[in-house]
Amino acid sequence: MTTRYTKDHEWVKVEGDVATVGITDHAQQQLGDVVFVELPEVGTVVEKGGDMAVVESVKAASEVYAPISGKIVAANQAIVDEPGSVNLGAEGDAWFCRIEASDLSELDELMSRADYDAYIATLD
């Protein structure tokens, strides 16, 4: 089980060929209080780097991109009902979707935790 990270601050954790994806704790901190989440419907096909979800804070709306290509097999209704839970558990319970990955080798292009931490350290 590996977790990988994108430059757009999504994380993806793979078990078998199912990838659970969400936004990083750094992303939720930058967004501030989350007040709205829009998730794709189950069955939607997403492409790596393409639009997947929308997350809005009091201040602004942000796109969440698919970190890996595949078909949406689950969407986390709990974060739609309680958007503020994204601020509390971005890298845990507040996952966004599960994707049946079409090409697991896409993960090789993403960052490890150490690389991601080094990346966000360069952003401020």
């Binding site: 501030g32 209080d33 007040v35 709205f36 809005e56 804070s57 009091v58």
Partner: protein, 370 residues
């Protein structure tokens, strides 16, 4: 950080308090503190929030009867404004558009104190100097800071250091001395709550801010909550809800134009503005409540329920006290009545919304006799 970014006297304090700093109208300003915009917003509505608004332009106009002279630039009745009273108005252009919005306080027969938007300060200074007489002096009080304390407990807190505040009603102002320092205190603000703005010398600003922040009721509030508070209060933000393309009548600001000024005219854009008062404007700024949870943001198109374009959102977001999305925007007059059902296009999808009366949250100003 580029050299051209300006900082207020409280910049160091904001950083010490853990603020996230962003550029705003050429200034380095706190957008939020570590507790976040929602908490800051709700704290201001329930207790007292301290805002650094030192980026705004504080001007002093002196000379013979400046109230009469400035009436050539604004549609408000300033001549009829009592000493120590403040009034909200707009600088209008010849075509009836709005150059800036401002608050004018009549200090004395020969002196006005004026607060303008940060982004408009330079242009407003030039506009005032050109529009007044040579014997009027327009001074930018760049050596003064401006702090706003807003919320139901704001006045009780300020009274501990400036007891005279209790004498002020809404839109009243006085100048006094606190520990040897000249302080101007005005009972007004930009949140819909009771509260004050304190103009203090720049080199005493940190001391005043720390004194207020040491009070249990007071927390620092950033520009993020300032924006959500003013939007819930239905107050216009220059450059968004009002600008050179909107008239005061379209913006629901006809209430700022006094009876005598309507009869006499004599301000820039009077022809259009008085015609719109008489005949009603073709479009109007309205409040909008989207259904569901998705906020409609500035720029989103507003349509009838069958898809014909009728206007655009000028401010929109989440209202923490309302507990849902709120917006303001211009719509054609025929669709501007409260309870009109409309659609707002959000990411290409029509979102049902309802035209509502402003404000979204009731104003709680300290009106005399209220």
């Amino acid at each position: 950080m580029p050299d051209s970014i300006k900082t207020t006297p409280l910049n160091g304090l904001h950083r010490e308090l853990g603020a996230r700093i962003v550029p705003f109208a050429g200034w380095d300003m706190p957008v939020q503190y570590p507790t976040g915009i929602l908490t800051e917003h709700l704290h201001t509505r329930s207790a007292a929030g301290l805002f650094d608004v030192s980026h705004m332009g504080q001007l002093l106009i002196t000379g013979p009867d400046p109230a009469r002279a400035i009436e050539r630039l604004v549609p408000a009745d300033i001549v009829g404004l009592g000493e120590g009273k403040a009034r909200y108005t707009v600088l209008t252009a010849e075509d009836g558009g709005i150059l800036d919005d401002l608050i004018i306080t009549r200090d004395a027969p020969d002196r006005l104190y004026v607060v303008v938007n940060a982004g408009g300060t330079e242009a407003d200074l030039a506009h005032l100097k050109a529009g007044l007489e040579p014997e009027h002096q327009v001074t930018h009080l760049a050596d003064r800071a401006l702090l706003a304390l807003q919320g139901p407990q704001a006045v009780a807190c300020v009274a501990r250091i400036v007891p005279e505040v209790e004498r002020l009603g809404f839109m009243e102002s006085l100048v006094t001395t606190v520990q040897g320092v000249e302080v101007r205190i005005s009972r007004l603000g930009y949140t819909g709550e009771d509260g004050v703005e304190l103009s203090v010398p720049a080199d005493h600003a940190v001391k005043f801010a720390r004194t207020l922040l040491a009070m249990e009721e007071v927390k620092p509030i950033g520009l993020g909550a300032r924006d959500s508070l003013r939007l819930e209060a239905g107050l216009c933000l220059y450059g968004h809800d009002i600008d050179t393309t909107t008239s005061p009548v379209e913006a629901n600001l006809a209430w700022t134009i006094g009876k005598r000024r309507r009869e006499e005219g004599g301000f820039p854009g009077a022809e259009r503005i008085l015609r719109e008062i008489a005949e009603k404007p073709a479009r109007r700024l309205v409040g909008l409540r989207p259904e569901g949870k998705a906020p409609a943001r500035e720029g989103a198109e507003i349509t009838t329920t069958d898809g014909s374009p009728i206007g655009k959102v000028t401010s929109g977001g989440f209202g923490p006290s309302v507990g849902g999305p709120i917006a303001m925007g211009y719509v054609v007059a025929a669709q501007a009545a409260p309870d009109t059902a409309v659609h707002i296009l959000v990411r290409g999808k029509p979102l049902p919304a309802t035209v509502v009366k402003l404000p979204f949250t009731p104003h709680r100003y300290a009106r005399r006799g209220a």
